[in-house]
């Protein structure tokens, strides 16, 4: 398509230049014989016919490509529900057995060479799911659930980003897609299933108490604890994720501490309030969260 466009552009500009030069020469040499209207009509008609023909071919190619991409269906597909929130992605791996369902956020793991169906919707405003290396965009529209079929052909980590303006932090609503072999994918999914383990040492247990006594459980869930908030990302396996704040920061302990203390500095306007904890509590909390692998 690019080369067709380049060719058309060159042809039109060449026509323009020749026309321009001839027009200027026509003025300076008044004895020149101008092309007849009939000859001009013929040329214009041929050019229009060529345009129409070329466009028809492009149309046919476009529809055919669309069909090919759209024909990706299979019964053995993995089903993943993606829900958009201001400004993060909720990702749920469905399973017939409720206790086997996995809920995570901002990181999508996919098996390669297998069709995957993404069922997308939104809880608040319109977002758009877009991982350029995987597939075109699909809008996440509240009140609608639509299905997108994708298939990753090679392993790797790909970045995705919200592509429909969704408010203040539209710029910081990214996600990472990890495409991996069936074996790795199954291992990852199995690791995501169990609830959080009890922390082994005292510092981490103190961190858990800080978590439970602060406002955290009002919004976040950690399966296996009393924290069951529904409005913010599930933290059961937070430490296994690669980024914080929907792709805003790499997930390291310094960043985690910074994020907890003042998320508004890092991502102004996001829904998480600042938590000015004293240093000991903060360290304990970070130590606890790091156990959530």
């Amino acid at each position: 398509m690019l080369w067709v466009s380049v060719a058309v552009f060159t042809a039109v500009l060449a026509g323009l230049c020749i026309g321009l030069i001839r027009g200027i020469r026509n003025r300076s040499r008044s004895d020149r014989i101008l092309p007849s209207e009939a000859a001009l009509s013929r040329s214009v008609a041929v050019a229009v016919a060529l345009t129409a023909g070329l466009l028809t071919i492009l149309l046919a190619l476009s529809v055919w490509t669309g069909r090919t991409i759209g024909a990706l269906h299979a019964d053995s597909a993995v089903t993943i529900a993606i829900t958009g929130h201001q400004w993060w992605w909720e990702i749920q791996y469905e399973d017939g057995v409720p206790s086997q369902r996995v809920v995570t956020a901002n990181e999508l793991h996919l098996p390669i060479n297998r069709p995957v169906v993404l069922k997308v919707t939104s809880r608040d405003v319109i977002h758009s799911f877009w991982v350029p290396n995987l597939q075109g965009k699909r809008d996440l529209i509240p009140g609608y659930t639509t299905a997108v079929w994708v298939r990753a052909d090679r392993p790797g980590v790909f970045r995705g980003q919200c592509a429909e303006f969704c408010g203040l932090q539209h710029a910081h609503m990214a996600l990472e897609v990890v495409a991996e072999s069936d074996h790795d994918f199954d291992g990852w999914l199995a690791a995501m299933r169990p609830p959080a383990r009890d922390p082994p040492d005292a510092l981490q247990r103190r961190g858990r108490d800080v978590f439970m006594q602060a406002r955290c459980p009002g919004c976040h869930t950690i399966r296996g604890t009393d924290a069951a908030g529904q409005v913010a990302p599930d933290l059961t396996h937070l430490a296994s994720r690669r980024t914080l704040g929907a792709g805003t920061l790499p997930n390291t302990s310094e960043h985690l501490a910074r994020w907890i203390q003042d998320p508004q500095r890092v991502k102004p306007g996001n829904q998480m309030p600042p938590h000015p904890l004293e240093a000991g509590d903060l360290g304990a909390l970070v130590a606890y969260l790091e156990t959530l692998r």
Binding site: S5, G19, E37, T51, A163, E164, F165
Partner: protein
Amino acid sequence: MMPSQGLPADANLRLLEQTWADPRGLYGWLTHVDHKSIGRRYLVTAFAFFLIGGLLAALMRLQLSRPDNTLIGPDLYNQIFSTHGTTMMFLFAVPVMQGLGIYFVPLMVGSRGIAFPRLVAFSYWMLLFGGIFLYVSFLLNAGPDVGWFSYPPLAESLYTPSKRADVWAQLITFTEVGSLAVAVSLVTTALKLRTPGMTLNRVPIFVWAQVVTSFMVIFAMPAVMLASTSLILDRLVGTHFFDVEHTGDALLWQHLFWFFGHPEVYIIFIPATGLISTVIATFCRRPMFGYLAVVLSLVSTAFMGFGLWVHHMFATGLPQLGESFFTAASIMIAIPTGAQIFCWIATMWSGRITVKTPMLWILGFFTIFVIGGLTGVMLAAVPLNTQLHDTFFVVAHFHYVLIGGAVFPLFAAFYYWYPKITGRLLSERLGAWVFGLFFAGFNLTFFPMHVLGLYGMPRRIYTYPAAMGWSGLNLLATAGAVLMTCGVTVFLFDALRALRAGAAAADNPWSAGTLEWATSSPPPNSNFLHPPTVAGREPVWENPPDQPVIAGLRADAREVLVTHVLDAEPDHRLLVPEPSIWPFLTGIAVTILFIWSIFTPWGVVYGAGPVFVTMVGWFWPKRADEGGTQLWPIAHRTLPRPNEAPAAGGAV
């Protein structure tokens, strides 16, 4: 019946000029209804909004010039890009084209005035007050921040509790009222006020373009007014048109908005093609090649323009067959535009070209618009579209189409018609500089955006991480924006300089063929002291020396000749309204109602009072000699020669 007939000729002309003069002084200024005065205001106001919108764009480019920049925060950035888009679409592009129509359509059809002049004056106040309202809100930190498209649910009160979305929706109401009124007036002027001899197939292409555009306005604008009013109702009184939680539908908005939004592009582009045809014909010294093909292209573009709106919604997940239909429509609309481009090239091919500044801008138009058109064909293909949609590729595409397709022709028109409006010529030398700076700056700004879009940079983000590798191209784009700003600054300087110190322009400095050049520069108050009749498409070139002029129109009252739609045969004479303060007062009253209704539904109830009073004042019946609508039947239809006295009975 006609006291003016007893006067000697020059006294008669003085009386005529007095009759058509608009009053002086501040109060007088508020009462102007002359289409030239209103047209000038439209052009100056729209251009001022172009400058302001451009400044906002420059701010965005500054913010994006490097990664993780903290110069402008997300809250302000979102207001800036929303206000930039809204300004350029509603306060610049549409009004500036309509302003050219208001000024030049009556002149080009050889009429002394425009139809419904007070309505046009009222439209201007709507534009001005709407624009002031938007920018006062912006300065009060209440500028729209949900995009120029204002998608619910984001624009609903749950997610935008401030007044920002209301400001946007109400600005739409302001500008749509204004543009609808102008559209009605332009259609009527072009169809009913043409001078005898200007049959439909001799109407200048620019006038055709204005008529086609005005019909598009009449059909497209109600859709967006419906949408914006529903949004205001949702926010103000809790209706649930778009409220998903209460059985509303978020997609309904997109259909309504884009049913307007796509034709909007052609509402901006079609008048620009009219400008191109006008300028090319003049500088090629031949009538436009393929007149019929060009006019039919305009009409078919207008029809097809209403069948493409879904290509803005390919990512929403529509059935494939439906998508294919809209892909086909979006691809096929390139055919009439292509036909026009070939006709322009054919005109140049067979013409005798003089390259002056307006022609430079037309050549710039070709280069840029063809790129924009081709990326448009790419975007029409669903598989590419779902990748490129809402990325910087699209930003590049529509700036190539809109700046290339509308702003370049507009600058051509500014250079072309500036001498007609002001009686002064702009500098050819500075003109080449302005063109060079703007052309280079434009490509430097927007070409890299294609690549950024292909690299995956989404639109409407206030910053991006350094790791994405988008920094270099963004910096390049910002550098281009600086060049463009320089170009516009030089233009502004030249335009202001030439007002006082420019070389005096002849009546027809470009030896053009259409009727606006058959009068002085600037035109007299009455447009034509002796309104000409026409015998061809390019009357100044084609009229025989003894072509009749219209005589017998009153000199002591604002009288125009009304003709038949198809053959422009004289029908009757009509008195058009005198200057009046009522359009201004009605504008104030409507403004109060619009702004008040953002805050409480009672604003509509109480605000209707002043609107009613001012409307009554406006429509109060007048005696015939004050500009009432008494019709004088035409006694006979032979047209007098220039030196003949009009026949008894006072017909044309």
